[in-house]
C-alpha cells in the first residue's frame, strides 16, 4: 500500500482542490496565485470516493469524504487537519433503517447546510435518498418524507445507479430545498422535508415514450447561486435548462453548444449569470465532441455559451467529465477546476480563460471540489 499521506499544509487564502477517484482521494494545494500545485495522497487507497467536501462554516476547516470499498461498504470520514488524520473509520454512521429494506450503496453528495445552521448537513445517497445530520455530522438519519415517498417504487437507476447528486438548500428559508437524482428528476420541498413534489415541467426524458412525464427525468446536475437561489440551471441527459421559479417551469438554454448532453455543471462563485459545463457528444458516445476538450461558459444566464479551450488539448481528446468533476473556488478571480475519467486534473486561475494540467495519471476522476481557505 502507498505511504500514509501527510495532509495538506495550507494557510488562509490558499486554494485547495479535493479530487475523488475510483481508487482514492487526492488533495492539492496552491497559494492564491494558483500557479503551482502540491499533491497529497492517495487517501483511502483502493476505495472509490464519489463525494468530498470542505465545511468552513462557524470557523471550521473540516474536510469530509465518503470512501467506499468494493468489499466492505461505504463510510463517512472527516478531517480537521486537511487530511493528516481522518476520523470515523470505526463508525458506519450512514445506514438505512432495517425496516426500509434498503441498504446503502454509495454516498454521492456531501452538502454542508445553510450558513445560518452550521450543525446541519445533508447527504445524497444511492439508492436515492436524502440524509440529514443536525449535530455537525456525528449522527445521520434519512429524511422520512423522502425515504417513504410514494414515487419511490417508480424511480429507476441510470447507468451510475439510482443516485441523489444535487442538494440545494434555500439560503433564505429552512423550509425550502431542491434535490435532484437520476432517474427521477428534480424534487422540491417547501415544508422542511415533510413532503416533496416533482418539479420537472419542461424537462424532457428522451429515453421514455412519454417525453415529458411528471417525474422520471435523468437529471445529471443542478446548480444555483446563493444570491439568486430561485434561478436554477440544469444539465440533463440531453438538455440544458434554466428555471427562474425554483423549478416550477424550465426553459431550454442550449444556445450555441456543440451538444446539450453532458454531466458536469458548476456555478461561478460571484456572478449569478455565469455557469460552466463540459458538453459530451451523446449518450452512446460519452466523450468530448470532435475530440476537443472544451469547457463552455455562459455569462448571460444561458442566452449564449462560449468555448473555453486555451491550454486544453484540441485533438485526440476523447475525454469524459462526470457530474461532480467540475467546480469553482471562492477567489475574487474565480478558479475553475475539472477532472477526467482518464485521470487528468485541469485548473484555470482566470475564470476559464486559460487552463493548465495540474496532474495526469490519476485513477478515473469522479468528483472535484475546490475551495479558497478562509
Amino acid at each position: 500500500m502507498p505511504d500514509t499521506p501527510a495532509g495538506l499544509e495550507a494557510r488562509s487564502g490558499d486554494a485547495v482542490i479535493m479530487v475523488g477517484t475510483t481508487k482514492g482521494a487526492f488533495l492539492f494545494r496552491s497559494g492564491a496565485a494558483r500557479d503551482e500545485w502540491e499533491m497529497d495522497g492517495p487517501h483511502f487507497p483502493g476505495e472509490e470516493v464519489y463525494a468530498i467536501a470542505l465545511d468552513q462554516r462557524a470557523g471550521r476547516r473540516r474536510m469530509w469524504a465518503a470512501p467506499g470499498s468494493a468489499f466492505y461498504g461505504t463510510t463517512l470520514r472527516s478531517s480537521d487537519d486537511l487530511g493528516a488524520t481522518w476520523s470515523g473509520k470505526e463508525a458506519r454512521s450512514v445506514k438505512f433503517p432495517e425496516a426500509s429494506d434498503l441498504s446503502l450503496a454509495r454516498i454521492w453528495q456531501i452538502r454542508p447546510g445553510r450558513d445560518s445552521e452550521p450543525e446541519r448537513m445533508f447527504l445524497g445517497v444511492e439508492p436515492t435518498c436524502l440524509f440529514e445530520s443536525t449535530d455537525g455530522g456525528d449522527t445521520w438519519a434519512p429524511v422520512d418524507g423522502f425515504l417513504k415517498h410514494e414515487h419511490r417504487p417508480k424511480w429507476t437507476p441510470g447507468a451510475g445507479g439510482l443516485c441523489m447528486h444535487t442538494i440545494l438548500p434555500d439560503p433564505s428559508s429552512e423550509a425550502r430545498m431542491v434535490v435532484a437524482f437520476s432517474t427521477g428528476g428534480v424534487y422540491r420541498t417547501d415544508d422542511g422535508g415533510a413532503t416533496w413534489r416533482p418539479r420537472n415541467h419542461g424537462v424532457r426524458a428522451e429515453f421514455l415514450p412519454d417525453k415529458h412525464p411528471e417525474f422520471g427525468q435523468c437529471v445529471h446536475k443542478v446548480v444555483h447561486h446563493p444570491s439568486r437561489p430561485e434561478r436554477l440551471f440544469l444539465q440533463n441527459h440531453w438538455g440544458l435548462y434554466r428555471s427562474d421559479n425554483w423549478g416550477d417551469s424550465w426553459q431550454d438554454i442550449a444556445n450555441g453548444v456543440p451538444s446539450d448532453f453532458g454531466f458536469a455543471m458548476a456555478m461561478h462563485p460571484h456572478d449569478a449569470d455565469s455557469v460552466y459545463i463540459v458538453p459530451l457528444e451523446g449518450d452512446f458516445f460519452r466523450c468530448t465532441p470532435e475530440a476537443k476538450l472544451r469547457v463552455y461558459r455562459t455569462r448571460d444566464g444561458g442566452a449564449s455559451w462560449e468555448a473555453l479551450s486555451r491550454g486544453l488539448p484540441q485533438e485526440n481528446a476523447y475525454e469524459t467529465v462526470l457530474r461532480d468533476a467540475l467546480d469553482t473556488d471562492g477567489a475574487e478571480t474565480a478558479g475553475v477546476y475539472f477532472g477526467t475519467r482518464s485521470g487528468k486534473v485541469y485548473a484555470s486561475a482566470d475564470e476559464g480563460a486559460s487552463w493548465t494540467l495540474v496532474r495526469d495519471g490519476l485513477p478515473p476522476v469522479v468528483c472535484v471540489k475546490a475551495a479558497t481557505l478562509a
Binding site: 468494493a70 461498504g73 473509520k89 458506519r92 432495517e98 441498504s103 446503502l104
Partner: protein, 96 residues
C-alpha cells in the same frame, strides 16, 4: 460452544488488531454462521457492518468459509456450525 472467526487483514484494525476472534456461546446459541456473526456484532460492531448490509445480507464481494466450504454453496448464513468451527472471512477476487 466456541467458534473462531478469522478476519482478513483489512478488518483487523476494527477488531483491536486481532486476526481472529474467539466467540463463546451457550448450547444452541451459535448454531449457524448467522448466529456467529450476530455474536461478532456484539463484540465488534464495526466489523459486522463491513460484512453485512442493513438488510442483513452478506456483501456481494465478501466470502465466508466454514472450513474450506464457501457458505454460498452450503446454506448461506444458515450454514450449521459445530463446536470448534472456524469461520474464515476473505475478500473475493474482484476489482479492476
Amino acid at each position: 460452544m466456541s467458534v473462531t472467526v478469522v478476519l482478513p487483514s483489512q478488518l483487523r484494525e476494527l477488531a483491536g488488531g486481532r486476526s481472529a476472534v474467539l466467540l463463546e456461546g451457550g448450547v444452541g446459541g451459535m448454531g449457524t454462521v448467522g448466529d456467529a456473526l450476530a455474536a461478532l456484532r456484539v463484540a465488534h460492531p464495526a466489523v459486522y457492518d463491513r460484512l453485512l448490509t442493513e438488510r442483513r445480507e452478506l456483501r456481494p464481494h465478501v466470502n465466508v468459509f466454514v472450513g474450506r466450504e464457501d457458505i454460498r454453496w452450503s446454506g448461506g448464513l444458515g450454514t450449521p456450525l459445530a463446536d470448534g468451527s472456524e469461520v474464515v472471512i476473505l475478500p473475493s477476487v474482484s476489482g479492476g
